[in-house]
Amino acid sequence: MTFFKFLIYRIVGIFVTVVTIIAFLFLLLRSIPGDPARLLAGFDATPEVIEQIRMKYGLNKPLHEQLITYFLNVIRLDLGISIRTDTPVVSEVLSRLPNTLTLSFASLAIAVTIGLPLGAIAAVKKDSFVDLIATALVTLGTAIPTFWLGLMLILFFSVYLRVLPAGGTGTPTHIVLPAVTLSLPVMAPIIKTSRYATLEILSQDFVKLAKAKGLSNGVVLFKHVLRNTLIPVVTVVGLQLGNLMRGAVITETVFAWPGVGKLVVDAIFARDYPMVQGAIFILALLYASINFLVDLTYVVIDPRTRVGGGQS
């Protein structure tokens, strides 16, 4: 298989994934109880008013017609008009997206810059104090729910110490608490994988041979061990992206962070079908594309995955 074929294969894969998600979400949303028209019109609205709203948003048509119309619109990059705010979904989501991306990347950066070296050091100094801390962080990060951690951090740093804002945006300090909250569940598997992989690689023959060549300890660790550790860590980071987006929905709500996650939660409560669909569509597209990029980084790190390079 050539590299070009691999690219085509993966891009088709992204397309199929996103289409499946849209269709599934479309049907799922309409199966939750609640009627957006009734919610929008208010309690004392007459049936005529509700019917008018239904017609305006096309909610009176059969389900399959609505779905086909929606797909046709998506192809034209028209994600519809929000039922709740009456603004185009695309502009609403895109205006919130930078906030979510900032939060996600800040969390991922914290998780990787702490998790990867911490796991590696824990492995090199197995059974030491650092190893104990690493293991404790893995357990806590896996066990503590994001919303609880968020609330506890607010309680301690905002209410008790009064050093960091409890929510909202504005200054760079606003991102600290949500980013830390979101990073912990992502950091846990990174520490664990980094530690395990480093232990495994340290016992490899090529590490022995690297030492036997007379290379310094630093060169052995950074050149020969760490790059090999990166391979499974990259896999885990790719898998954690989904976790990151799920966490973002909760974290943004806890910290009133104006991102796509909070937008989706508000939209779900208002049964704002176009908004939920549009936001999830963009997140799904983003998730699939980033995973694709993650796959490409293997090619950079590991020569064995370079397709077509097997023969001389």
């Binding site: 090529f206 022995k208 036997a212 007379g214 590991d302």
Partner: protein, 325 residues
């Protein structure tokens, strides 16, 4: 003047509260340019010996007593940072499995030249020298081979690369831990011939670990036979093979077909199919070979450990020769 002197080297694997002795007062010396084979069955401690000599033993393998004197300097007392000066330049190693001995993420040329660069070569010098080394170990088109990754080479080619790394700095001592055991028979013969030629050209001393007495015969001047962590016989290879003195050496040699014309087949007896692992946890008071020895003398071999007896320039550790000290 000896290049390497090993005295009373005693080591154990310690895992938790369990302790298993792997080397028991191993003593020998090696002259410059001498090629010594260490033979013995699985579990005899020969690989542990190689790892300790190269100071590549993991934390579980602990040296309890003894000295490893390289030009009079005890390597066991050196710190890890002091060792880097000796590694590659004075002492080099070749590991058993070439498929795991090379880092899969770097081109092989880079893995040769980094050994040179760690000892003062510039980038260009290291590159040119690596090309020469690739040529010397018999890889065709060195410039092309330089950029290849380990997964693109065969087992035999990878072992050639490992040899190139080992001889890169013309070390005084080369420790080869079963370098041909992971290869098929025809490749084995090529690798052994190559290794022999290279160490003879450079005047390198070699300790060659193997379980194959035929291979040992081809490559070595001197042979050291190990059983269960003990050195049972040391002597010139030709003499030991022609006339083995220790009962275990006799057994080893009779189990190998050295001369195809003789075509003797290995006799399978409970003694040579049984693993000796069960013995290791027991404290052996007498001779380590007493449980298998056909010549054992009750009341002597199972009570006291034989000393080292010098017979015709050969060291044998067996009570049979006790009278002729």
């Amino acid at each position: 003047m000896s290049l390497l002197q090993v005295k009373d080297l005693t080591a154990s694997y310690v895992i938790g509260r369990h302790k298993v002795r792997v080397l028991d007062e191993v003593t020998f010396d090696l002259k410059p340019s001498e090629k010594m084979a260490v033979v013995g069955e699985s579990g005899s401690g020969k690989s542990s010996l190689a790892l300790i000599l190269a100071r590549l033993n993991n934390k579980a393998l602990i040296v309890e007593r003894g000295e490893v004197l390289y030009k009079g300097l005890n390597l066991l007392n050196l710190k890890e940072s002091e060792l880097t000066k000796f590694r590659g330049v004075d002492i080099a190693v070749i590991l058993q499995n070439p498929s795991t001995a090379l880092n899969p993420l770097y081109p092989i040329g880079d893995q040769i030249s980094e050994a040179l660069r760690a000892h003062g070569y510039s980038r260009n010098e290291a590159f040119r020298e690596a090309l020469k080394l690739l040529e010397r170990v018999g890889l065709s088109e060195p410039a092309k081979a330089y950029r290849k990754y380990p997964h693109q080479l065969s087992g035999g080619q990878k072992q050639r690369v490992a040899i190139a790394i080992a001889i890169a700095l013309k070390p005084k001592l080369l420790i080869a831990d079963e370098p041909t055991s992971a290869l098929d028979v025809s490749t084995q013969a090529q690798i052994i011939a190559l290794l022999k030629k290279l160490v003879e050209e450079d005047g390198t001393s070699m300790i060659f670990i193997t379980h194959d007495i035929g291979v040992a015969y081809d490559i070595s001047d001197k042979i050291l036979v190990m059983f269960n962590g003990n050195v049972v016989e040391v002597g010139l290879t030709k003499e030991v093979v022609k006339k083995p003195l220790h009962p275990y050496t006799k057994h080893l040699i009779s189990s190998a077909i050295l001369n195809p014309a003789e075509n003797r087949l290995l006799e399978v007896t409970p003694e040579n199919t049984r693993s000796n692992n069960g013995l290791k946890n027991k404290l052996v008071v007498g001779c380590p070979y007493v449980f298998r020895c056909p010549y054992k003398v009750e009341g002597l071999c199972n009570v006291s450990k034989p000393g080292n007896f010098l017979i015709d320039g050969r060291i044998v550790s067996c009570h049979l020769y006790g009278g002729r000290k």
